[in-house]
């Protein structure tokens, strides 16, 4: 708690700086794409958000496993704290994708595998959050949501392959991989990396803040209980 309290301001500052720099650089100091025009700039929101949406779930999975095995209370709360952040990133990825899709594919939405599996991911986030909300007992809620997270991860993977089988899509593949020849041009690449870093930091900061809040809420509830017990 103390450590996280000290790190938090620094991280926040870093996140703000890299986000601002990445986005400003991306939006105002890169040339328009010859094919896509200025719409390409939405990539600086879209790609980092999409990456973090997935990573947030992975982080929740890891935290849930830690809770299940070691019963470390903070990890349960960290998973809980990450869910709304991850859901928001998913929503941002979906929204920016839709906004991008309108000029590029001529439609706001298509049942492309990538988009579809993101939608499914979003539903998983919603279910996870709803379950946390619905269970009264906090320890039980932690156990149940952890179970859901693990089961959900398996099925999210399954859905991904099922969806690929179901429809070949419009969406471009991953072009950020380092070993690939044709990466996006450098002019786009560097600010993109910067804004991805910004999103990562933003995620860490938000999760830290939310975890600290959750811990304090739990402490308050526990103190409250002890108060009533004494009275």
């Amino acid at each position: 708690m103390r450590l996280s309290g000290r790190v938090l301001p620094v991280l926040s500052a870093l996140a703000a700086v890299s986000l601002a720099a990445g986005l400003v650089w991306g939006f105002f100091f890169t040339p328009d794409d010859y094919q896509q025009g200025s719409t390409v700039k939405i990539i600086y929101l879209h790609v980092p958000a999409a990456l973090m949406a997935i990573n947030a779930w992975i982080m929740m999975l890891v935290a849930s496993l830690i809770w299940f095995i070691r019963r470390h209370h903070v990890s349960a709360l960290a998973a809980r704290a990450a869910a709304p952040v991850g859901a928001t990133f998913t929503l941002v990825a979906l929204a920016t994708g839709a906004i991008w899709g309108q000029p590029m594919w001529g439609t706001w939405w298509a049942w492309d595998p990538r988009l579809t599996s993101f939608l499914i991911l979003f539903v998983f986030y919603l279910g996870y959050i709803a379950l946390w909300e619905a269970v009264e007992d906090s320890e039980k809620a932690a156990d149940l949501t952890a179970a859901l997270c693990m089961v959900g991860s398996v099925f999210a993977l399954l859905s991904r392959y099922a969806v690929l089988f179901w429809n070949q899509g419009l969406h471009q593949g991953a072009s950020l991989s380092l070993d690939k020849e044709e990466n996006v041009a450098d002019v786009f690449y560097q600010p993109l990396l910067l804004s991805i870093a910004g999103f990562v930091l933003l995620f860490v900061v938000l999760v830290l803040i939310r975890t600290r809040t959750e811990i304090r809420l739990r402490r308050a509830a526990a103190l409250d209980q002890r108060g009533t017990a004494r009275a």
Partner: protein
């Protein structure tokens, strides 16, 4: 074991049980579709396998939500947990009973309803095969959702929210095969994948569900 299966089946078939309603619900959802999207035969034929699958899925879901709930509310689940029968067996038997009273009859009646939706004749065997292979998975997966939402008021609804995304792979593979057959493509790969999926799910879920139930009973 046999006693539990017999009890589940009796309860499902007895007045107020889930079995007839599951079927009637299936029937009604399918019958609503022409009212909702209009009676044009082409349009209907295009959506027939999908409609049947979605209806099957929803009616499985509606019958599932109380799978453990009533046992939980009247204390039977406590007693079952302390009985000599392992919880995994209880889960598997309950899923089996659920499938026998919902998935199976619904599969058998599906061809009849497909007629009202103008499904091409070539797709019939694939539709039935798909449902026969896929619906047990729906029952098994459903136990997870039912266990997770045990004891929550309005748990039934949350069961839906948690379970439906888990159903998507089964739905895709299942419906795909009938659609492929209707469109004159090869329906076998989808069916094979569906079978593999069902086997994997049937092997894994009783353990997951039993674990979740133990948490719920605390």
């Amino acid at each position: 074991m046999r006693a539990l299966l017999a009890r589940e089946l009796t309860l499902a078939l007895r007045a107020g049980g889930g079995a007839p309603q599951g079927l009637v619900f299936f029937l009604i959802v399918v019958l609503l579709v022409p009212f909702g999207i209009g009676p044009a035969p082409d349009r209907l034929a295009g959506v027939a396998p999908g409609t049947l699958w979605i209806a099957a899925l929803l009616s499985c879901l509606m019958t599932l939500d109380r799978l453990f709930q009533t046992d939980f509310e009247d204390g039977s689940l406590d007693a079952l947990a302390l009985s000599p029968l392992p919880m995994e067996a209880v889960v598997a038997l309950k899923a089996l009973a659920h499938w026998l009273t919902t998935g199976l009859p619904l599969t058998l009646i599906a061809p009849l309803l497909a007629v009202t939706l103008n499904l091409p004749a070539s797709a019939y065997p694939w539709l039935v095969a798909g449902l026969l292979i896929g619906t047990p998975a729906l029952s098994m997966i459903g136990t997870i959702g039912a266990a997770l939402t045990l004891g929550l008021r309005r748990g039934g609804l949350l069961t839906g929210v948690l379970t439906l995304p888990l159903y998507i792979p089964t739905l895709i593979f299942g419906a795909r095969s009938a659609i492929a057959a209707a469109d004159g493509q090869d329906p076998v790969p989808a069916l094979a994948l569906s079978a593999a999926l069902t086997l994997a799910i049937a092997a894994a879920t009783p353990f997951a569900t039993a674990r979740i139930l133990a948490i719920q009973l605390r």
